[in-house]
């Protein structure tokens, strides 16, 4: 069980790191949001799932599950609101090649 938990957490950390690298490398706000969704929907979720497995069935397990569900429901809404605001305020989405 511990091995599975460690595996999940390490896998999640991989996505968190890649998301951070993406944040630095990618050129503009729209593309950077994709790196953000990588950390949200895979990094954070896998780390939380790893913690839940490590915890075993208990009250804390249920609480982690609540956090997981909220992350799944709310993070896309936040990304969407940010990106929509950027789009409406007229930021260029840079079709085609970007530098």
């Amino acid at each position: 069980m511990t091995v599975l938990a460690i595996g999940l957490i390490v896998f999640g950390l991989f996505f968190l790191i890649v998301g951070s690298i993406g944040m630095l490398r990618l050129p503009n706000v729209f593309v950077r949001a994709h790196a953000l969704s990588l950390t949200d929907s895979l990094g954070a979720v896998l780390v939380l799932a790893g913690l839940a497995v490590y915890q075993g069935l208990s009250m804390n397990f249920l609480k982690i599950m609540v956090v997981l569900i909220l992350v799944y429901l709310l993070n896309p809404v936040i990304s969407h609101a940010t990106i929509r605001a950027a789009h409406r305020s007229g930021l260029r989405t840079s079709e085609g090649k970007t530098e």
Partner: protein, 155 residues
């Protein structure tokens, strides 16, 4: 509907409070009831929601997120950074509020695609490259979500 909501809120309270002495439990029951009583009536949806289909949808979505997550990771770690961002106008048959929420959320959850604007029948989606937008263009998501919300007889 309200009783169901109150029971759900109460269960949530119990989950978070972590103690079962009568005063806390009583307060939880009271406030769960109060919140549901104060809440204005909502108009009921005309679409029937199938929990069974939703249960099948979640693992599928998770697999998809994992697949495109690895794809986006490869794009980011590639020294050449081979991204080709684009805006896609996605037409959809779905028009209910619930359906659009699930569709928009699923698109944003999936790495590589983000919902920019939502309107009944049309979504504007930003995709990081060609491959990320393929699933969307084929309408796999729409079909799955459409199965989740069958059009039933409602008000």
């Amino acid at each position: 509907m309200r009783i169901m909501g109150a029971i759900l809120l109460f269960a949530f309270w119990l989950l978070l409070s972590d103690s079962f002495d009568p005063a806390r439990v009583g307060a939880g029951a009271f406030f769960a009831g109060l919140v549901m009583w104060l809440q204005p009536a909502r108009k009921t949806s005309t679409h029937k929601f199938s929990w069974l289909a939703a249960l099948g949808y979640l693992p599928w979505l998770t697999g998809r997120i994992l697949k495109s997550g690895l794809h986006v990771s490869r794009l980011i770690l590639d020294p050449k950074l081979p991204i080709s961002p684009r805006l896609i106008h996605h037409h959809t048959e779905l028009d209910g509020d619930g359906e659009l929420v699930v569709l928009g959320n699923s698109i944003t959850l999936t790495p590589g695609t983000i919902t920019v604007e939502v309107a009944p029948g049309e979504l504007v989606v930003h995709a990081i490259d060609e491959a990320s937008s393929v699933d969307l263009r084929e309408g796999v998501l729409d079909a799955k979500i459409g199965r989740m919300f069958s059009r039933g007889a409602g008000t």
